[in-house]
């Protein structure tokens, strides 16, 4: 099945509210601040937005409608995109379809989460029904423990080494050192990575993301509108989402990308070798490797070695998570699912500043989210191509 192309729709005005380790501000603030930033970047005001997507874990007791009231928005289109780390690509494609179908003219895609003292524990213990019933009471390691099981299995199955994962983390730190907004910018060597204290074997400290607060947003509109606003923008060459793929696998070693890769690249009309940079969802390095292999950059099981053999820095031959990703930038809840997308939009429109990959035009952004029980459920990916206004 081939999906209709995303003709005439573009993505623009990426905005990142700088992340903070702990903050007393609630999710409404982070989402609102991100929205304000994106609108300012586009020269628009709240009255110009008639569509909104919201991704957040910590809006409670509000939901998206409450947020429209909170922020004073009047909308034709409102979507809650609760797919965790897959929300960037998923929000993009749903917003694009809404604009393409004429349901809305300007859709603001937003993501943001609070992080106060102890809020991460409270999020974990009631993250999902299955987590509450069947994973959290088993040592309460949270996602670290679940992904440690998955990493352990992946290493046994495919012979990946900690050094391979370490190179992913180290390259991202090198990228983060160029990004003044990244929370972790200290030098990190492979030796540091390997010698760091273990968190949940085989995961060490630098395999894990640090929870923080933050917000992200971008705008989806018609190409004509973007041109009339004189904005740099990116076209959507292709986008896919898939949820709960391969439920029969006893342990997760692949994701929905493996089922969708053909459709993604067919839709884009290009192949993995034709993108200038890759933004994967990096809650743990093993997931980066899984995305890279499932999306066809290399054979299944080769992802970690494939990446380790390349230069993944901004100036390298395989630029990957160029802002430093979540591993070095921090995980701002659902905003972590937007981080790769906003960075990719900046990259392909030549607005990435200190992390700019020279001459970048096309980017792959992939996402992964919702550890419902023992695996991530939601997977998504998008290929975008920048156009200079």
């Amino acid at each position: 099945m081939r999906t209709a192309p995303y003709e005439g729709v573009v993505v623009t005005a990426p905005f990142t509210v700088p992340y903070v380790r702990f903050s007393p501000r609630p999710a409404q603030y982070w989402i609102g601040a991100a929205l304000r930033g994106a609108l300012a970047a586009a020269g628009l005001g709240p009255r110009d937005v008639d569509g909104l997507t919201v991704s957040s874990f910590t809006l409670f007791p509000d939901t998206a409608p409450g947020l429209t009231d909170h922020l004073g928005l009047t909308l034709n289109y409102l979507d809650t995109v609760t797919v965790g780390g897959a929300c960037g690509a998923v929000a993009l494609r749903r917003a694009a379809r809404a604009v393409q179908a004429g349901e809305a003219e300007v859709v603001a895609c937003t993501a943001g989460d609070a992080n106060g003292i102890d809020s991460f524990r409270r999020l974990l213990q009631s993250f999902s029904r299955f987590a509450m019933d069947a994973s959290y009471p088993y040592g309460a390691g949270g996602p670290n423990a679940v992904f440690a099981l998955l990493t352990d299995h992946y290493m046994q199955k495919y012979g990946a080494a900690r050094e391979d994962f370490g190179r992913i983390a180290v390259a991202q730190r090198d990228n983060a050192r160029r990004n003044p907004q990244a929370l972790m910018r200290g030098r990190l060597t492979l030796e540091d990575y390997l010698n760091a204290r273990m968190i949940s074997d085989p995961l060490g400290l630098f395999d894990c993301v640090m929870p923080c607060a933050g917000g992200e947003a971008f705008l989806v509109m018609t190409e004509d509108r973007a041109r009339s606003l004189n904005l740099p923008f990116a076209r959507i060459l292709s986008a896919v989402e898939r949820h709960n793929a391969f439920p029969e696998d006893s342990v997760q070693y692949r994701g929905g990308w493996a089922e969708n890769a053909g459709r993604l690249w067919d839709g884009a009309g290009i192949g993995p070798g034709d993108v200038d940079l890759v933004q994967t969802y990096d809650d743990y390095p093993v997931i980066c490797a899984m995305q890279v292999e499932d999306l066809g950059f290399c054979a299944k099981g080769e992802g970690a070695r494939f990446m380790a053999a390349r230069d993944m820095t901004v100036t390298g031959d395989f630029p990957h998570n160029t802002s430093g990703g979540q591993l070095s930038g921090g995980q701002a809840g659902a905003a972590g699912g937007f981080l790769g997308m906003t960075e990719a939009i900046r990259q392909v429109t030549n607005r990435a500043g200190p992390t700019q990959v020279p001459g970048a035009r096309r980017a792959l952004v992939s996402g992964f989210g919702m550890v419902n029980f023992d695996r991530g459920i939601c997977t998504a990916a998008a290929v975008i191509e920048g156009v200079q206004a």
Binding site: L124, Y136, A140, D152, H153, V251
Partner: protein, 414 residues
């Protein structure tokens, strides 16, 4: 692990009990019900036969809502493991590191389980469902072979109520099962058994046999006397890690048999009010020591007549008293939640003693009752039966309580 842990430093603060994560869905609570009975049960689809985990509202294979909790083959293999060293949870922080695994069951589903120290990735295991300090089921992957080294594993100890290295109070030393109970507990590794005797000055034929067991001592205890209970609690309350409430006063007969309430009152004094006095005397101290190291306070055992569940006409008042104690026992279980002290109900059939003479066989040998108590403690069961009659009635009650109670009145063919 065959010796008592060293004496505690009285200057150090006793570890304060903190509950493990205790919230579950209603469906998962059904797994806890099975775990309390010592069973490993999972949801089986009544339509397509699929076995699934975690518990759901519908079958994930065919969307049928005909889900049944059935005992399930616990065999499987560890296909991934991790040692978790960091947690935001206060209970587990005190236990770190905690080893967990992904176990692929032969029955189909995979699950996350705590790991016994002797097994790891690649090993064959059997999965047991155990009650944790929150009173909820936790899956535990054990070596395929049973043995004492299995019992002494710290994770197994955390998820059981093993009498080994613990001090036990048997409330009524004159009860027919008391001697067998003391012997069984000591054989299971109990550090000491306190044997309660009311009117301690009275002759006691079995005295020498208790003494011969070794780590056994008599204490003055009359559950009908609040002062007696308080005095003993003040003396040994901080040393009792398992309390076995076997105090009862049983007389045969229905409601119409007597013209007074003398016996009925005595049954209430011993069973119901006695239990409350014991709980008021010993409960708080046990609760406070629920996570006090290797020999933490761990279990409150109520020995109840099966009539507590299915009222027996032959012993109507014992059934009534048992039912009242059972209700209190459930309440106590709720109050103890999170501390580490489990509340265990042992449903006993008619004991082979002078107060059940007129009942037909099979009757419960005191020794069999003692064995049932020790077994429940070792395996961490919260609900267990003793004897064939109790087992039969319990099964009927589980299947259909109203039918079981009605047929116990007679008039139903076998």
């Amino acid at each position: 692990m065959n010796r008592l842990p060293p004496k505690k430093n009285p200057l150090k603060r006793t570890q304060v009990p903190v509950s493990p994560p205790g919230m579950r869905s209603r469906a998962a609570t059904a797994m806890t019900v099975a775990a309390a009975e010592g069973r490993f049960a999972l949801q089986h689809c009544g339509e397509c036969g699929a076995v699934q985990y975690p518990p759901r509202e519908l079958c994930r294979g065919c969307l049928s809502d005909a889900l049944e909790w059935r005992d399930t083959d616990p065999s499987g293999a560890v296909i991934a493991e991790t040692t978790t060293r960091v947690t935001p949870d206060t209970y587990f922080r005190g236990l770190m590191p905690v080893r967990i695994a992904t176990v692929l069951l032969d029955a189909g589903p995979s699950l996350i389980a705590r790991l016994h120290g002797a097994v790891g990735r690649g090993d064959r295991v059997r999965v047991a469902a155990r009650i944790d300090a929150a009173g909820q089921a936790i899956l535990l992957a054990l070596p395929e072979q049973e043995g004492t080294e299995v019992r002494d594993d710290p994770t197994v100890r955390e998820l059981s109520t093993d009498p080994r290295l613990r001090r036990v109070l048997i409330v009524d030393g004159r009860a027919p099962e008391a001697l067998a109970l003391a012997r069984g507990l000591l054989e299971a590794g109990a550090a000491h058994v306190f044997v309660g005797l009311s009117e301690i000055w009275k002759p006691f034929a079995l005295r020498d046999q208790f003494v011969a067991l070794g780590a056994c001592s008599f204490v003055k205890l009359d559950v009908t006397d609040a002062d007696s209970v308080q005095d003993l609690a003040a003396e040994i309350g901080g040393k009792v890690e398992i309390l076995i409430d076997n105090a009862r006063f049983t007389r045969p007969g229905g409601v119409l048999g007597r013209a007074d309430t003398v016996f009925a009152r005595q049954e209430l004094e011993n069973g119901v009010l006695g239990m409350i006095r014991l709980a008021q005397g010993f409960g708080r101290a046990m609760q406070a020591r629920g996570q006090d190291g290797v020999n933490s306070a761990v279990a409150w055992v109520s020995i109840l007549p099966i009539g507590a569940l299915v009222p027996q006409m032959s012993h109507a008042m014992a059934s009534a008293s048992g039912a009242a104690v059972l209700a209190l026992s459930h309440a106590l279980r709720g109050e103890m939640r999170g501390s580490g002290v489990r509340v265990i109900n042992i449903y006993a059939g008619p004991v082979d003693d002078e107060w059940h003479q007129e009942l037909p066989q099979p009757k419960l040998a005191p020794k069999a009752l003692a064995q049932a108590v020790v077994k429940a403690l070792v395996e961490g069961r919260e609900e267990a039966t003793a004897g064939e009659v109790a087992r039969d009635l319990y099964a009927r009650w589980r299947e259909d309580p109203a039918l079981a109670i009605r047929e116990a009145l007679g008039g139903t063919t076998a």
